[in-house]
């Protein structure tokens, strides 16, 4: 059925609307005029999420858990203080739960009601995470959704879909790829993609690093 009405989806998919950009400027101007919100505060927040807060943070956590078994135990036992050890905390990370992918269990994270996401570890979510199709389908047809990401799981793998319905955020610790024994954490972190920490992907294989 999806294919059949794709032509209609194209017609009605929300389009970028120039009036929204203008309206955003107008709101900025209004709040500046009243002395309530400064342009440099807006710039500072934008730059914070563009430069300092992003999946590179989650990747450091995962790489450290891969490299240090004691840290892995702390992270899986109580995520919030464990990521704070590495300096990560803040909005949308009130309580962090880390869940580990293994050959037998695959975790994937969604927020069906809005788009809750662990910002301090992963930055702002990709568009697909916030989209109605992901919010609707991840809980009800996870294998079909994962297949769109190129992830085909064996039928005996238990899928666990985490719907972020309270002030708890999830970080998936992907499986550590083979052939990475003894790698320094900085190198390991390069294998850890954003999608692998949401559960819609795997960590990169060492052979995939070359092309990046």
């Amino acid at each position: 059925m999806t294919q059949e009405h794709d032509h209609d989806h194209e017609h009605h998919q929300p389009q970028p609307q120039p009036e929204v950009a203008l309206r955003t400027e107008a709101l900025e101007a209004l709040l500046a005029e009243r002395g309530l919100v400064s342009s440099n505060a807006i710039d500072a927040v934008v730059e914070l999420y563009e430069n300092d807060v992003g999946p590179q943070n989650g990747a450091r956590v995962v790489a450290h858990a891969w490299a240090d078994p004691a840290y892995r135990t702390r992270l899986l036992g109580n995520g919030t203080p464990a990521v704070y050890e590495l300096g990560f905390s803040g909005f949308e990370l009130n309580t962090l739960v880390a869940v580990e992918n293994t050959p037998a269990v695959h975790n994937v994270v969604v927020c069906t009601l809005c788009s809750c996401y662990p910002w301090p570890l992963l930055g702002l979510p990709p568009s697909w995470y916030k989209s109605p199709p992901y919010r609707a389908r991840a809980v009800a047809e996870p294998r079909a959704v994962l297949r769109e990401f190129g992830l085909e799981l064996d039928s005996n793998v238990e899928i666990r879909v985490w719907d972020s319905t309270a002030e708890v955020r999830y970080l998936v610790v992907p499986e550590r790829p083979a052939g990475t024994d003894g790698w320094p954490e900085e190198e390991l972190a390069r294998l850890v993609t954003r999608d692998s920490m949401v559960g819609t992907g795997r960590a990169l294989e060492p052979s995939e690093l070359a092309g990046r």
């Binding site: 929204v20 400027e25 107008a26 505060a41 905390s89 009130n94 989209s131 769109e148 985490w162 309270a166």
Partner: protein, 218 residues
Amino acid sequence: MDGVHDMGGMHGFGAVVTPGSDEAYHERWEPRVFALSTLVGIERLGQGSGRAIREEMEPAHYLAASYYERWLWSIERRLERKGTIAPGDVDRWVERLSAGEAAPPHADAAQAARAVETIGRTDELGPARETRFAVGSRVRVLRMRPAGHTRCPRYVRGAEGVVEALRGTDRFPDIGPYEGPPEPVYSVAFASDDLFGASEEGRWRVLLDLFESYLEAA
């Protein structure tokens, strides 16, 4: 409230992975809306929770709007409800900008520093007090139709699951956004067929963090 935002399990929305879907945003106004929303919260310029207010959008508008367009809508409502701005104020600035007027400059380095510092703060769930259910308890989600903000999606109502963990306590959102008394929050695991019946995908588990008031012993 049981609005179109409660999408878990629904059909008809098409593919997840589409051109551009990998990007967090596509236009410069989008992260600025995100920043504005954050600053309205930090500076206490608004009233109500953006998350709850976005659910009040007219349903066709909610579905047609892009993600940060919904955020922009909710920022305006928050500012109006607090009385920080009045309806029409933004429209007037749209007209002034359209007529070529420049936005007024307003710099505040302290505000910028305060924002970055505040964004880094974490507010963990409170410790668990008395709890009605233990890990391993079989629970059933109540059937309900809350008129206000809720964090109990429709697709688990009436379903049975098992408590896997106690998350702590948090403010119960159903009686007004984030203003209720603290309550235990549980991680509850559901078998997929107890939610959606048999599926050609076989079985999986769906886990939600649910407030104690949503649950009864099964």
